[in-house]
């Protein structure tokens, strides 16, 4: 298990920073699929501990995943909260809009993460559609 030190990913990788890029993308997906919040905190910690010395590939994926995770929080939690607040919890219309909205956005964010992880595994940079930052 590699230590999460500032040089993580810079040594031992086929492409400098590849391992760190994969970890960042994995944490993004775990945040969406398994441990929401906890994985995000781990991603934030990883970002601040490694970004200063991260190779370009890792820095790209770190920026992307952090930015996309923040957007995901807004899109999934805040916007859904508004839908329920505005529509009222006990109406069929709110359920239809809220569930369809959540499923579509969540699936799109997970798919984007899967593509990001595939790019990281191939040692390539990636920009999240719409919500990603330039590398």
């Amino acid at each position: 298990m590699p230590s999460l030190g500032p040089n993580l990913g810079a040594t031992g990788d086929a492409i400098p920073g590849q391992r760190l890029a994969i970890i960042a993308e994995t944490l993004y997906l775990i945040n969406l699929l398994l441990l929401p919040g906890l994985a995000f905190l781990a991603l934030v910690a990883l970002y601040f501990r490694t970004i200063a010395n991260a190779p370009p590939l890792a820095a790209c994926h770190l920026r992307q995943t952090l930015s996309a995770s923040l957007w995901a929080g807004g899109i999934l939690v805040v916007a859904n909260g508004f839908i329920i607040l505005l529509g009222g919890y006990a109406t069929g219309a709110t359920w239809v809009v809220a569930i369809l909205y959540f499923v579509c956005c969540h699936s799109a964010l997970v798919l984007a993460g899967a593509l990001g992880l595939a790019r990281a595994m191939a040692g390539q940079p990636y920009r999240y559609p719409l919500v990603g930052r330039n590398c």
Partner: protein, 468 residues
């Protein structure tokens, strides 16, 4: 084409596409019957149209799987097919049985069909998806045995690769599980219990092996990535599919009278069922990102990537949506199930068959590695039309399902089924419009075989060598 005997795949693919067109036409009829209750009644009643729609799906997918097998097995085993003649005979037997069965559904009352085909001697009819007359079922077993013999001998005399082993395992499982169609106990719980061994263990079990093997074969060809890398992915994916899918059968046992522990087992294991589909997405995109060649058949690559994505959405996400027992308590048997069924079948199995057809067609038609640019552009149009239309069909069905659950099962004054159906008719209309777009997509796919165009630029052997 590397081996002459691969040509036997051609009639299978043609039959598959023909029956696919028929299936979608009956889907449109059904869509209209949802909103115009007496549409085509009494010529084609709803229950008959539904039976034809689902049975045609199964039959054309089986044609597709068999065609895919006949195409890829000689290439993988590096030897000619054991008996191309047997493959052609089984093709005609299967086609005749399939067409006669569908005509039987359409032209004779179901009870008369059962009587005429001797169902009383060995009763197997009258169950969803397994409506085929017992005679047809016996015919299917004979065809499956001949098919497995032909393919099995070919693999035995040739090279054994991970792909042809996984494919053969999947096909053998398919044939074995179908035998439960002959077990028809009078106790409804027992009947349903084993009925799912055919239905669930096909689509969420052994068919996933067939899907994985075909996808792996096409990805090796279009990306040029090392076989060893792709084979490792395939092992992991099929292991995950079987581990989650077999016990995941429990999600069908929640409310049929099976022991209560299935609510736990079914929920836990089927919650993990999206995993192999997620890995498949990762696998497909990873291989394409690491590709070592630029294959001129862009359409086949698009279909392969689309298969992984749509299978993940349909089988994974939409399956998870209603798979946990406490959720399924409300969603069971609503339009949510229909939404999941449509996207899962399309994403996982329709698209993988279209992927292998797209990959094999230029070679079967003597066009080399790829069809003309014009043909590929049409094919890509058909891909997007079908995929986007299917997404909308599924979203409208999901909307209908959520509202149905609310009105029928959650609200303070639950309403009867038919009263609710009237209130969700708008979703059905929108679904029908999306269905028409889907049908246009299918016709564009067919049209791509009817037009001609200039040959595409091919990779030179030197370029392939350099990339490798």
């Amino acid at each position: 084409m590397v081996y002459q005997s691969q040509a036997v795949a051609k009639p299978y693919f043609i039959a598959a596409i023909g029956l696919f067109v028929g299936q979608v036409m009956f889907g449109l009829i059904l869509g209209l019957q949802y909103v115009i209750g007496d549409f085509l009644f009494p010529t084609i009643p709803f229950n008959v149209a539904r039976m034809v729609h689902t049975n045609l799906l199964i039959v054309w997918l089986l044609f597709g799987f068999m065609g895919a097998t006949y195409y890829l097995i000689p290439e993988e085993a590096e030897t000619e097919l054991h008996s191309p003649r047997l493959a052609i005979i089984t093709f005609w037997v299967f086609l005749a049985a399939g067409v006669l069965t569908i005509l039987g559904y359409l032209m004779v009352p179901y009870a008369t069909l059962a009587e005429a085909t001797g169902n009383s001697l060995l009763p197997t009819m009258g169950r969803e998806f397994l409506e085929q007359p017992t005679l047809t079922k016996i015919g299917i077993v004979v065809v499956a045995l001949a098919f497995l013999y032909n393919v099995g001998i070919t693999v035995l005399k040739g090279k054994k690769t991970v792909i042809n082993t996984v494919l053969l395992l999947g096909l053998t499982g398919l044939a074995l599980m179908f035998l439960f169609a002959f077990y028809n106990p009078s106790a409804l719980t027992l009947d349903k219990y084993y009925w799912w061994w055919v239905v669930h263990l096909w689509v969420e079990g052994v068919w996933e092996l067939i899907l994985g093997a075909i996808l792996a074969f096409v990805l090796i060809k279009v990306t040029g990535v090392d076989r060893e890398v792709i084979e490792k992915w395939l092992y992991v994916i099929i292991a995950a599919a079987l581990v989650t899918g077999i016990i995941g059968t429990g999600h069908h046992y929640y409310w049929i009278g099976a022991p209560e522990y299935w609510q736990w087992w079914g929920s836990i294991f089927s919650a993990l069922e999206p995993l192999p589909f997620f890995m498949m997405t990762l696998f497909a995109f990873n291989m394409v990102n690491r590709r070592r060649r630029n294959h001129p058949n862009k359409a086949a690559t698009l279909w392969a990537l689309g298969t992984a994505v749509m299978a993940f959405l349909g089988a994974g996400v939409w399956g998870f949506l209603h798979t946990l027992a406490p959720v399924n308590f409300y969603t069971h048997g609503t339009q949510i199930t229909a939404a999941h069924g449509h996207l899962a079948f399309f994403g996982a199995y329709v698209m993988i068959v279209l992927t292998i057809i797209s990959y094999a067609a230029p070679q079967l038609l003597g066009q080399g590695e790829a069809r003309s640019n014009r043909q590929q552009v049409l094919e890509m149009w058909s891909f997007w039309l079908m995929s986007v239309a299917m997404v909308f069909i599924v979203l409208f069905l999901t909307g209908a399902g959520i509202l149905q659950i609310w009105l029928q099962r959650v609200s303070e004054n639950p309403q009867p089924f038919m009263a609710v159906q009237e209130q969700i008719a708008l979703f059905y209309w929108m679904r029908t419009v999306a269905g028409i777009v889907f049908f246009i997509g299918v016709m564009v796919f067919v049209a791509s075989f009817l037009v001609k165009g200039r040959e595409v630029a091919r990779e030179t052997p030197a370029a392939i060598e350099a990339a490798a």
